[in-house]
């Protein structure tokens, strides 16, 4: 991490770069798409393929035609379709058929979305049916001779079936002479219509376009992804995630992976007799972390409420109440800018474990993270585009144990400084750190509190070295208002942060449970707040009173679930792992005025 200033500069530069990249991407894509369409219409003589004709139509016209068609038919949206088999079962059961073999005495029913339609005249059509997300695709060979419909009905019906429609098919299994496992429909029902022209899918990596019953999308968690092969523009993918999910099986895999990650963590904690709890998302005071909260208002109670920024203070109250091991997986909300690693709402897992300390938690962190990587990828290494999509991906190694870096000790060594943790509250230290930052050209935006200066230095010297998982441990007390003083190192706390790919993923400590010291720390925070640091933590008297009743020695731990998911899915943008990420309002016009070159 650079200093705040350079950070900002590089962020705007990054944004500009990204914008330009998008524009260029868009231009290329449009050109490409035109070329593709042209090729398709050239390759196939007019009149032979109605599907292609349709897709040359103007989208508004296409939509209107579809609406007209829907209005002309009875019961356009059936209530139910009975599915007898999943795609996987279908493959397992009938994958072994001989080429050309048909099982006409068996009837199966499958349902899914049509992503490809080819016709071989009016009496024979081929469809690619996508059954389950990230699953297989099944070829449908619709033959007028087999259908329940007569020939003219058949051709009329199938000319109305469009790419994107959801269909239910009952028929018999068989293999074509060329050896493709197919389903031969006797009845073919459109269950729901796609009223818009679906974008043409790009062939996915590892899946030849005409491959049948191949695993759709060769991507598995832990391997690199190539977003450039995706059909849709990035903006569309985030705004219309359902389209993204329809078009790209990798995306479906990403969210399945996310679901598995959460499931693994939950199971890990449940197996250790942790109890899952729910604490309020709306509070009177936003405590437990230093962040700007969302404010809302309860009309009936006539009361201002803030959205939580961390569940920490409530979870510790439950430990005071006698629940020795509690955890909560849930959303936190911070009213901050949106960037590649920050979203206004994000998911964390926090757990609190009575009678454990930060050493215990470091071991548990290693077990959880290496465990989840092993469970999902089969190994300990994850391939990740750490240096941008245009560079080779790197391997991040989750093999435990993780490196441990003593913060002040290592900082002194690497920057050749002489910071004494015992005396960090003095003005001299503050001046010393300001000079150090100046010397290394690390910018720290005001207020230049000692805590903030130290944070910048750590970012510059230590965090950047943490590509494989590494613990930065023993933070100074002034940086950690809720952590317990170190049992043998004066001025420091028993705290660690886990960094992976230079980003913080976990934060944990032996919890401060001395109410007198806790109140003192809040008072110190207030001083920072008064000196202009609006991210300093506010005093929560309810919480301090709970400490008066006695919090047992406790280890507390927080994990950024989204960031962990990013690492496992080769995602550089947090929006890749959020189903419906927060976006700017669409009607927002780009800033007016002359367009600057390159923007």
């Amino acid at each position: 991490m650079d200093g705040e200033g350079t950070n900002k500069i590089s962020k705007t530069a990054q944004k500009k770069e990204l914008k330009a990249k998008h524009k260029e991407e868009e231009r290329l894509r449009k050109a490409e798409e035109k070329a593709l369409q042209a090729a398709a219409s050239c390759a196939q003589p007019k009149g032979k393929n109605a599907a292609v004709d349709d897709e040359e139509m103007d989208p508004t016209q296409y939509h209107e035609n579809r609406l007209k068609y829907i209005a002309s038919i009875e019961n356009a949206y059936p209530h139910k379709f009975h599915v007898t088999m999943t795609d996987r079962e279908y493959l397992e059961k009938f994958g072994g058929l001989e080429n050309g073999e048909h099982k006409e005495d068996i009837t199966v029913s499958l349902a899914g979305r049509i992503l490809r339609k080819r016709s071989s005249g009016t009496k024979l059509l081929f469809y690619d049916l996508h059954v389950t997300p990230g699953g297989w695709k099944v070829q449908v060979m619709a033959d007028a001779r087999i259908s329940e419909l007569d020939e003219s009905e058949f051709s009329r019906f199938h000319s109305s079936v469009k790419r994107g429609d959801l269909v239910g098919i009952s028929g018999f299994p068989g293999k074509t002479k060329r050896g493709e496992l197919s389903i031969f429909p006797r009845s073919f029902t459109v269950l729901s219509h796609c009223l818009h022209m679906l974008p043409r899918p790009k062939p996915e990596r590892g899946v030849p376009e005409n491959a049948n019953l191949e695993i759709a999308g060769g991507w598995v968690p832990g391997t690199p992804r190539n977003l450039e092969t995706y059909t849709l523009y990035q903006e569309t993918r985030y705004r219309q995630r359902y389209l993204d999910l329809i078009m790209t099986s990798e995306v479906r895999q990403v969210f399945k992976t996310r679901s598995k990650v959460v499931k693994y963590i939950r199971k890990f904690l449940d197996d250790l007799d942790f109890m899952e709890v729910e604490t309020p998302m709306m509070n009177m005071i936003a405590g437990g972390a230093a962040a700007r909260p969302f404010v809302t208002y309860h009309n009936d109670l006539n009361m201002k409420l803030v959205m939580r920024v961390a569940p920490e203070l409530y979870l510790k109250q439950l430990v005071v109440g006698g629940l020795d091991r509690v955890y909560e997986i849930g959303k936190q909300f911070r009213n901050e800018g949106i960037d590649l690693t920050h979203s206004p709402e994000f998911t964390t897992c926090e757990f609190y474990m009575a009678y454990a300390d930060y050493n215990d938690l470091m071991t548990m962190t290693e077990e959880i993270l290496s465990g989840v990587v092993k469970e999902i990828t089969g190994g300990y290494k994850v391939m990740y585009h750490s240096n941008g999509l245009d560079k080779e991906p790197i391997a991040i190694d989750f093999t435990p144990p993780f490196r441990r870096i003593d913060m002040v000790e290592e900082l002194n060594k690497m920057a050749n400084l002489n910071i004494n943790p015992k005396d960090l509250s003095s003005v001299e230290v503050n001046t010393y750190l300001k000079e150090a930052c100046k010397k290394f050209e690390i910018q720290c935006s005001p207020p230049e509190t000692t805590a903030r200066l130290l944070d910048k230095l750590v970012g510059h010297f230590l965090e950047v070295t943490c590509v494989n998982p590494a613990f930065i441990i023993n933070h100074p007390e002034i940086m950690s208002p809720l952590a317990k003083w170190h049992r043998s190192k004066p001025g420091l706390t028993e705290r660690f942060e886990l960094f992976i790919n230079k980003h913080e993923v976990c934060n944990a400590y032996t919890e401060l449970n001395d109410p007198v010291v806790q109140r003192q720390r809040f008072a110190d925070q207030l001083k920072d707040r008064q000196s202009g640091d609006d991210e300093a933590m506010a005093l929560d008297e309810t919480f301090c009173t709970a400490l008066d009743y006695g919090l047992p020695p406790t280890g507390g731990w927080g994990l950024g679930v989204d960031r962990l998911c990013m690492l496992l899915t080769d995602s550089q943008n947090i929006k890749e792992v959020l189903l419906f990420p927060a976006m700017k309002p669409q009607d927002d016009q780009p800033p007016t005025g002359p367009k600057t070159a390159g923007a």
Partner: protein
Amino acid sequence: MDAVRLWSLSSQPLKQLIRTTTTRLVVRCCSSSSTTTGGLAPKAGGRSRRLSASTSTSDKDAVRAIRLNKVQELRSKGLEPYGYSWDRTHSANQLQHVYKHLENGEETKPEEDGVSIAGRIVARRAFGKLAFLTLRDDSGTIQLYCEKERLSDDQFDQLKGLVDIGDIVGATGSIKRTEKGELSVYVSSFAILTKSLLPLPDKYHGLTDVDKRYRQRYVDMIANPEVADVFRKRAKVVSEIRKTVESFGFIEVETPVLQGAAGGAEARPFVTYHNSLGRDLYLRIATELHLKRMLVGGFEKVYEIGRIFRNEGISTRHNPEFTTIEMYEAYSDYESMMNMAEEIVTQCALAVHGKLTLDYQGVEIHLERPWRRESMHNLVKEATGITFNEFGNDLQGAKEVTLKNLGADLDYKYKSSIEACSSIGHLLNEVFEIVVEPKLVQPTFVLDYPIEISPLAKPHRRHAGLTERFELFICGRELANAFSELTDPMDQRGRLEEQVRQHNEKRSAAISEMDGAEDKREENDESYEVTLDDDFLTALEYGMPPASGMGLGIDRLVMLLTNSASIRDVIAFPVLKIQQ
């Protein structure tokens, strides 16, 4: 991790466990801690016991001062009153179980069968050279049997002078069943792990103040261990729901809490403002519309367990934030969701109670399947004799018959709400809510709601004017709401537009009514804006498979299964009015 592993072991050599007790002799290194002032003599064991029974502010302050002195005294002896960690071999409950065979007066050999436990002291009796302490942990309680001779050096004096009720201590020793039959840890060494500064409330008088119970839930849990049980059961219910739906192949997803438009239900949303986006955002009032987008995207079985927010009044049944599960299954209809509801509720009941007959506030509830399934029309007819089908579109006639039928002594509130109904469907529902709902004590699926009050449900395949929708009622309360989902985008657009139109009508009527009484405007129910979620409609236009969906209120299910009268009893930190 040691602590984790040791937790599950039944016996462990004691020597390794002494580690933490000896490292407790840590000298404080942070100067900010020594802020307490000396003064009062710390020899006040008897006095503090008297004080711990009372909770008035001045007494509390006195106790706090005394105990802060004990903190000082401990530190002056080189003992840290706020320990770092403690390795346990057993929980109290495990000990009770493992050593249940021990005869009265029998003791295990300390060198072979040493145990280590930790927890809060909830009772103590001290005699000359003997002290009995009751220790409680997450699992239960056990007695600490402390004898002066067994303890090293001046530990017994520390125990008598410095340990108060409420302190969290760790203790090691052997196991002995006293002559009176009480299983005890025969303590050979102990450490104060956390010195408590405030007295615990008296079990019988301390927390009669209901409001305080909710405001200081942790005190409630310390004083009444059965309160913690409710939350243990809640965790079990949520876990059981997850297990059940995942066994059917459902995948858990997370959809946004902060949204540009709050849809999927009719309720006043919370509004907030995102500084850097420079726009208002709403807190979700349902997860429905985003989960349906997942079905459009190709997921066939999805669910989300999560918080929903409604900016409405609080009551024994309503908290502004509450937890639901919503689930959606492609290619199925509402019949399949009825089976799912039965499956979920019975599995949870079995997980919590081990049986399907339970007591709720004095009423016996039978959850054996199958549950009654009856249409709303039939239930209303059964209760009132009115056949709503016969009215056709004659709303006025229907109202007259209804009012006559329900009798002259009907509450004015109900009369006016009947008068206000804008359609036969609304009227039917109103009568249902007044007459039928409170009587649905045993589990009942109420089927086929009028289309006017079901904007997201599919029209019934056989009965015009109705939808394929059900609500599940137990104990007169709605527990679940489900339908065959409306998939026709044109129909959906029409219904949502109608909903917005009706809302705006009510809103402007309400606002003009309010013009006279300015200060009441804020409290008006309809004074919020409802907007159309166009993106959801576009998603439907890409095609959503036939599907059924259900929402089930987890707080209400937990209330039922824990026999809790108020939603505040099942939410750890409920929203409360600002304290006077």
